[in-house]
């Protein structure tokens, strides 16, 4: 996997030759610059939504902005690319016209079939997919996937939530019941129940990643039911956080730091730190090192982090949260240690069994842990 990933001069010339006579009217300066400076690492980023959504896409954009500051990197991005054949064309365009050596399609739905179709046609380009599950032998060799165990941050946030809640009722506004979301819900609940065994989490699924009105309604409904700490897993937590602040309850954030939106109620939050991932990849490529196919990491590896605590968070709760954080940092924390039951009473992790963070079993989670009020069926 360490062969050169730069475009060969022949590929460049072939591309130009295909341009055709009619295109001679053009001003070629900006394209020439991209192809000429062949000592820069060229990274292309693709976002499924707007890059300033105060949430998922923004977290990636902030990572891209951080790596773009390095003067030996040329980074470019495209936002609002849907998960249809359009993303295939975007990827191809980034390779052909911008000379990208590595692409970061950051939405889950880009993987199958889009990356799987384009990657074999461009064997010299690296396709690093966020959230995917690379399988050796099954997927092309120039594909890789990376993700972070943000559920670790949610676990810590859950501790803070459970500790600070007066009613013992937590709320979770989620988009869809897919494994990555369920893992967050479960971790939040397990974290909360580790300091307050009887607390519950009410889940409302909105059905899609970005539905501001429905997210606001869900938040209001949850507050009506007595919930006093709320969190979410949607593309843009802005609505949930501001609605929670208006209703006067606490909240914990997700993706990015939303504390400015809720100065009174934002207790803490689970944040991505994609800058670290992108910088690491850039370094590896510059040095010509082998890029691993599967990158995963949590608090310890610095891929995710926990927001600073709000000043209202009590000393006792801070201690509990910090203790958990330390355990994650040292690698000693196992969240899924049996016996664990789901919310229908079924035993999902037997007594004595444990599933460490990297266990693939966790990536196909389809149940909600005991203490969660809600269902994965739609």
């Amino acid at each position: 996997m360490s062969e050169s990933r730069k475009l060969t001069r022949r590929q460049v010339l072939q591309g130009t030759a295909a341009a055709g006579a009619l295109s001679m009217l053009g001003n070629w300066e900006w394209i020439g610059e991209a192809w000429g400076a062949s000592d820069k690492v060229k990274m292309g980023f693709i976002f499924v939504g707007p890059r300033d959504d105060y949430g998922y896409n923004q977290a990636h954009f902030e990572g891209k902005a951080a790596v773009a500051k390095l003067d030996w990197v040329k980074a470019f991005d495209e936002e609002k690319v849907p998960e249809t054949i359009e993303v295939q064309k975007t990827m191809e365009s980034m390779v052909k016209l911008d000379g990208a050596q590595v692409l970061f399609p950051t939405s889950f739905g880009y993987f199958d079939p889009h990356i799987l179709k384009v990657a074999p046609q461009n064997p010299n380009i690296l396709f690093l997919h966020c959230g995917g599950l690379y399988q050796d032998g099954k997927h092309p060799k120039n594909v890789g996937s990376y993700f972070g165990y943000i559920d670790e941050s949610q676990y810590v946030a859950g501790i803070v939530a459970g500790g600070m809640s007066k009613s013992g009722k937590l709320g979770f506004v989620a988009a869809k019941p897919i494994p990555q979301v369920l893992r967050n819900i479960n971790n939040y609940t397990l974290g909360a129940r580790s300091v307050r065994p009887n607390c519950t989490t009410n889940v409302i699924f909105t059905g899609d990643w970005s539905l501001p009105v429905r997210e606001a309604e869900a938040t209001n409904s949850l507050v009506d039911q007595g919930i006093d700490v709320i969190t979410c897993h949607v593309d843009s937590p802005k609505v949930v956080v501001t609605t929670a602040e208006k209703r006067g309850i606490y909240c914990t954030g997700y993706h990015c730091n939303q504390s400015k939106l809720a100065p009174k109620g934002y207790l803490t939050g689970a944040e991505w730190n994609w800058a670290k991932v992108y910088m690491d990849y850039a370094e590896m490529i510059r040095k010509g090192q082998t890029v691993p196919h599967l990158v995963r990491g949590g608090l310890k590896e610095g891929i995710v982090k926990v927001s600073d605590y709000n000043q209202v968070v009590t000393e006792a709760v801070r201690k509990q949260a910090d203790a958990a954080k330390d355990k994650f940092m040292s690698g000693g924390m196992v969240v899924y240690k049996g016996p664990i039951k789901d919310n229908t009473g079924r035993v999902v992790v037997a007594a004595g069994k444990e599933h460490v963070q990297t266990d693939m079993w966790l990536e196909s989670m389809d149940w909600l842990v005991e203490g969660v009020i809600g269902s994965t069926k739609s």
């Binding site: 707007p50 959504d53 501001p212 429905r214 409904s221 039911q225 501001t242 609605t243 400015k260």
Partner: protein, 305 residues
């Protein structure tokens, strides 16, 4: 405090007002426009443009109410543009409406980029529920003055159309352009003015979304409210006060899905969330019939031809 199933009722009540207010303004605007014989499908673009303008002006000026006013003005400009384009012979107003939708939405997203991050001052609420001890009921009745204004506008509009000379002119133009011309009425000017006024109301409706509920400017803010308004006007039989009831009904139906989940009804939430649309369709099927066709429709509307 535990409210259980009462929570659903409270959510529906609160939702009727919370979610219904933008629909109220947009449908009143469309109602006025259609009374003059013009159909404006571009209100979706107007709504989004109003939302963005309101948010931006509120941020820059510090006054959310100024934002609301400017949102209305932006809507007025778009409405006037729509109607001016349609006043030319052979220009199809439904097609123009859809093109305006694209244009208005695109313009709003384009200009609105710098405003997604910052937090603008929010419109204040009025505590109608202060008499209650139940916090949930209090929250549900915490409404915005725009809702009350909307009620006033609905009544005023109804009165205006029935009792003033201007209202009569608008209605004549909407029923029969030929008759209007025979009377010497400037058909196009009246339509442009009505559509502009309609756009003004729609712009205000949009500003409610971004400055009050869900209080956010982002590119996913609207979920088709502008288009639905056209359906609501038909549903309301072109009566402004009917638009009020229909908007409340719609708002309540839209709040049903999430609130059912909060009490544990978790199955079929996609279907529950589609209830407003199913309900509108069902009502239209029941109340329309070939004999009566569309009672109350202004006959100049292209949808009747």
């Amino acid at each position: 405090m535990e409210v259980g199933w009462w929570g659903v009722l409270i959510a529906v009540l609160g939702g009727a007002i919370r979610i219904g207010t933008p629909f109220l303004f947009v449908s009143l605007g469309e109602c006025l426009t259609e009374k003059s014989g013009r159909i404006n499908l571009g209100l979706e673009g107007t709504l989004v443009m109003g939302a963005m303008t309101g948010y931006a002006v509120s941020l820059h000026s510090g006054s959310p109410w100024l934002g609301v006013l400017c949102a209305g003005l932006a809507g007025m400009v778009l409405g006037a543009l729509h109607s001016w384009l349609c006043s030319f012979r052979r220009v199809n107003d439904i097609a123009v409406g859809i093109a305006m939708m694209l244009f208005g939405t695109g313009l709003a997203f384009f200009l609105g980029k710098p405003y997604i991050q910052p937090s603008a001052p929010r419109l204040p609420s009025i505590d109608l529920g202060a008499w209650s001890d139940i916090p949930q009921l209090k929250a549900a009745l915490q409404i915005n003055a725009l809702f009350l204004m909307g009620i006033v506008v609905a009544i005023a509009l109804a009165w205006m159309l029935k009792n003033t000379a201007w209202g009569l002119k608008v209605r004549v133009v909407g029923e029969s352009a030929d008759a209007a011309r025979a009377l010497g009425l400037p058909v196009d000017r009246i339509r442009i003015l009505s559509t502009a006024q309609g756009g003004f109301l729609a712009g205000i409706g949009g500003s409610y979304l971004s400055l009050y509920y869900p209080f956010n400017w982002s590119e996913g803010l609207s979920s088709g409210q502008g288009l639905m308004a056209v359906a609501l006007v038909i549903f309301a039989r072109w009566h402004p006060v009917g638009c009020l009831w229909v908007s409340l009904l719609w708002g309540g139906a839209a709040a049903l899905g999430p609130s059912l989940q909060s009490v544990g009804i978790t199955g079929g939430y996609y279907i529950f969330n589609a209830i407003p649309y199913i309900m509108t369709l069902a009502v239209m099927i029941i109340t329309c019939s070939p004999k009566r066709t569309l009672v109350g429709v202004p006959h100049e509307l292209t949808v009747t031809r």
